[in-house]
Subunit: 214 residues, 2 copies
Amino acid sequence: MKISSIAFQEMAQRERACFINCLSGFKSANLVGTYSQKWDVTNLSVISSCFHLGADPALMGLIIRPHSTDRHTLEYILETGEYTINHVNQAIMHKAHQTSARYPREQSEFEQTGLTPHFEAGHRAPFVQESSIRLGLKLREHLPLKINQTELIIGELTMVFAPLECLSKDGSLHIEKAGSLCVSGLDRYHQTKQLARLSYAKPDRELEDIEDQF
Amino acid sequence: MKISSIAFQEMAQRERACFINCLSGFKSANLVGTYSQKWDVTNLSVISSCFHLGADPALMGLIIRPHSTDRHTLEYILETGEYTINHVNQAIMHKAHQTSARYPREQSEFEQTGLTPHFEAGHRAPFVQESSIRLGLKLREHLPLKINQTELIIGELTMVFAPLECLSKDGSLHIEKAGSLCVSGLDRYHQTKQLARLSYAKPDRELEDIEDQF
């Protein structure tokens, strides 16, 4: 393939947004579940900006754009301090994408898309029953990023639900085996095929493939 | 699949790190290229923490852990204010992973792994010639995150190089067609298979599959 310079600075706004959103690479595909006590409503929002921030404490970051359809998500996370993150799989891909429509506050995306809220003792935000990997988080930090008016939400994991058959003996979770998908750009959903699991790299030593033991 | 609660709080440190790293979902697989004028060396580091932050200005975030093997990367980004991000593909997967070994400063990961530095006029940091999607960035913000001593690096895109045959008419870049991979956890590399490209979601309207036009 011939590699060319692409003058994104000259693209129209919508085209540019499509383009730039693809450049960081593949992204996680998650549904963020929230609950508002004030309005007594649940909210569900597909999000591709969730990222790993640290293992101890177990932290995750989430970027929320200003004026986006995620505005209820941000509002309810700040109100209750709790939210869930649920992996998207192929069976719920269309429903997950549909949560990005701009529903009014009183219409829960759970009802509108046909996904099932699932509650766990000790956590007020709803999990997604159709999701195989479900995380409960509590808000730890809210950092507005002045550079472009996005909001960085940092949460700490309090609960994890996953299929035990996907948990390797060394602690690694085989999320492909659990059916999790990834996203690229604004609207592409992809399944994955693992090519290799590679050993811890050291200078002057050949990498080896790691065989999973479940 | 039966979904179980997993008591990650009771895992040993290494097992827990393996586990928590898998939970955010699939991650981008990139090589970060840097150059130090002070030491006159290049550096290359595989990184799965690169994420989209905004389209206008075109911003990307990068999380660097303290005391990680990426320490030269952070040092040189702060010194020169410039770096590159290069997508990992299957042909360079092993070499990319090998850059995570702890090489001394004077041994460039380019030489040690056999990847080829490629320079573009107007940018001091090296690109990876074997990569199909290559981005040039300049440092815009450096935010140490007090919560866990990681560092958030925010960069603005100044240059993009990609195969024109992967650029859709609406601006979207088909990164799967370009051969880009994704990562899960600390050491799993995956290729992708696109399931669908879905239309912009609106309430009370059915989603449609978008056909790409190249």
